[in-house]
């Protein structure tokens, strides 16, 4: 804290980097070691998922490289472990470490995509409800209320079930990622809608919106160009916490056997595969993907918690 007392040159315009560094958001970030740790962990996990093809010592989808003779090997540091397979292998002889990296890629992909979907639906519904008001507002918020009285996992399961009814089995398996994104995305839009509606109700009576209306801008343009940027703060918080929740939901669906298939496993599928072998003492198949999932979700949750506190004007 010594540099704040030393006089700064007044004339020089601070560089962009410095302004970012000096911003209050960044300041609160720098001063929370837990948040920095969470951010580092999240970033590391995301990077290792993105570059799974480079980092992973084996390719779990390359059937030629998989040898059934290597199946059910324990982690490298145990008695029967082999150095080739750091975290052991599963029942098919796939390297657990590599499979986790590839699985995390699917978990993150589904997570991000469903957050985007929920955010788009929720923001659109919230803006429309808040800005237009009246009957539109009543209908949208009534639907939101009804949906909110059901747990999201139930709605996600239901949408998944309906999609299974619409598509036949092969189509469904081929389109499993979009189906998962759709089920998780639709089951989570309500929070965005409620928050955006609340903020829009406040913003809509402010002078800049009235001015925009007077110069004859189209309502949709006003909503997107003028109101939306001013309600994005809370949306960012919900989206961060929502990412953790979406990853969890995907893992749960896959664990329950209605998500990613064993041939293309996400973290949840891996845990489910391992669950069948728990009684044979093959703990590593479930435990390592489980730990990865828990760490990922915890890190994203911590980031979201920090963001919520940092953006909350009451706590400043």
């Amino acid at each position: 804290m010594t540099d704040t007392t030393s006089p700064k040159p007044v004339s020089a315009k601070p560089s962009l980097l410095y302004r970012i560094w000096d911003h209050e958001l960044c300041y609160s970030f720098r001063n929370s070691p837990l948040t920095v740790a969470a951010a580092v962990v999240t970033l590391l996990l995301i990077l290792s998922a993105v570059f799974a093809g480079v980092i992973a010592p084996h390719n779990p989808f390359d059937l030629a490289s998989i040898d059934l003779m290597d199946s059910e090997l324990p982690p490298a540091w145990t008695e029967d472990g082999e150095a080739r397979f750091l975290l052991g292998t599963d029942n098919l002889g796939r390297d657990i470490y590599s499979t986790i990296l590839y699985g995390m890629r699917i978990s993150l992909l589904v997570g991000f995509a469903s957050v985007v979907l929920s955010a788009v639906i929720g923001i659109a519904a919230g803006l429309a409800a808040g800005y237009i008001g009246g009957k539109v507002d009543a209908v949208i918020m009534r639907i939101a209320d009804i949906q909110l009285s059901f747990p999201t996992i139930l709605i996600a399961l239901l949408i998944d079930g309906i999609m299974r009814g619409i598509l036949d089995r092969e189509q469904h398996d081929a389109m499993i990622i979009p189906v998962l994104v759709l089920s998780i995305g639709i089951s989570n839009w309500v929070q965005y809608a409620r928050t955006v509606r609340g903020s829009t109700l406040v913003e809509r009576n402010k002078e800049y919106v009235q001015a925009a209306r007077i110069i004859g801008l189209h309502p949709i343009l006003i909503m997107i160009r003028h109101v939306l940027p001013n309600v994005m703060g809370p949306v960012l918080v919900i989206a961060t916490l929502g990412l953790a929740f979406a990853i969890l939901t995907e893992a749960t669906l896959s664990f329950l056997g209605v998500g990613m298939p064993p041939t293309e496993p996400s973290l949840g599928t891996l845990i489910q595969i391992g669950n069948d072998f728990l009684f044979s003492g093959l703990w590593w198949i479930s435990i390592f993907p489980g730990m990865t999932l828990a760490v990922l979700v915890l890190a994203v949750n911590l980031l979201g918690d920090w963001l919520r506190d940092a953006l909350n004007p009451k706590l400043r």
Binding site: L158, V258, L278, S286
Partner: protein, 328 residues
């Protein structure tokens, strides 16, 4: 009071109608019921006759009316997969799910109340902080993973408790089956109930803590202390009592969540409940079971919501004074 209840009742009926509509459309437009009932070589004329007999050619609104009337009488047709009445299938499994959820709720509440009060009263002790950190982990670790860890620890490594099934069950008069009266049944419910209740436990604990912190700052607590009341009287008689209003609301809603989240726990512990049946019906696209489960669980939810709202009204006198203009 009567007006309030009537208004909430109307809302509940609206919710049930919407749910019924979803279940109805699922039933009508996904898969052809006639195809499910006849063989491949049935002539078209016979199919048409069956269609007419089943009333599938009636206007949509009449069919929906029939669906609602049937649903109200718990009549959901035959399961595609099990070839037996859906209602029987569900009712057979209802006691297992209800028992699991109730035991979890009792465990969660019994542990959350003292833990929440303790962490609220002694917020700076390291034990409180440890409990809070632990509860954050409890929220981040998914239910099914906790179940697996429990199984590995208590069933595989230690061998203390069974890892699947309900144990021996006793059939009570009225057809209700219970595992709470046998030793093996009691042993079997411990792990699933703990797994299911853990999330609720952390949530209620954090809520009670937050509410306690809020209430302890208020003037009437300071005044109660100034009057020289014992700590016990202030903490439990004045503070805790006033934290319970939101806790009742949330607990009621969480009870519904417990029944829904039992799907996951039942799957981990192979618990023979409704949730597992629902999950199987999704995998097999067994539409009658899916829609029946949806209607039944929605009914449970709606009733719980209604009861909570009425309780809220009874507990919080402010709602009565403000009338319908109030609410925050």
């Amino acid at each position: 009071m009567v007006a309030f209840i009537l208004r909430r009742l109307a809302q509940s009926i609206l919710v049930m109608l919407v749910v019924g509509l979803v279940a109805f459309f699922m039933f009508q437009f996904l898969g052809d019921p006639v195809n499910q009932m006849v063989g491949v070589d049935t002539p078209i004329a016979e199919r048409e006759a069956l269609r007419e007999r089943l009333g599938l050619n009636d206007p949509l609104i009449i069919r929906f009316g029939k669906f609602v009337v049937n649903a109200a009488q718990l009549e959901f047709g035959l399961s595609y997969q099990h070839k037996s009445p859906v209602t029987d299938l569900l009712l057979e499994r209802l006691p297992a799910t209800i028992e699991l959820s109730m035991v979890s709720a009792v465990i969660a509440f019994a542990l959350a109340l003292p833990a929440g009060v303790y962490t609220g009263l002694y917020r700076n002790r390291w034990s409180s902080k440890a409990m809070l950190t632990l509860s954050l982990v409890g929220i981040s670790v998914p239910t099914f993973l906790i179940g697996i860890l429990f199984i590995y620890l208590f069933a595989v490594v230690l061998g203390w408790l069974p890892s699947f099934g309900r144990g021996d069950v006793v059939t009570l008069p009225g057809g209700w089956t219970t595992g709470l009266l046998t030793t093996s049944g009691l042993k079997a419910i411990i792990l699933p109930a703990l797994t299911l209740g853990l999330f609720t436990l952390t949530l209620i604990m954090r809520l009670i803590r937050a509410e306690m912190l809020e209430v302890l700052r208020t003037d009437y607590i300071k005044f109660a202390r100034a009057r020289g009341l014992t700590n016990r009287a202030v903490n439990f008689g004045h503070a805790l009592k006033n934290t319970l209003v939101p806790v009742i609301t949330v607990t009621g809603l969480l009870l519904g969540n417990l029944i829904a989240f039992a799907i996951i726990t039942e799957s981990v512990f192979q618990w023979p409940g409704m949730g597992r049946l629902f999950l199987q019906s999704i995998q097999e696209v067994d539409l009658p079971v899916m829609s029946a489960y949806l209607v039944m669980i929605s009914f449970l939810f709606v009733v719980l919501n209604l009861v909570v709202d009425i309780l809220y009204y009874v507990v919080d006198p402010r709602l009565r004074v403000e009338g319908h203009g109030g609410g925050h």
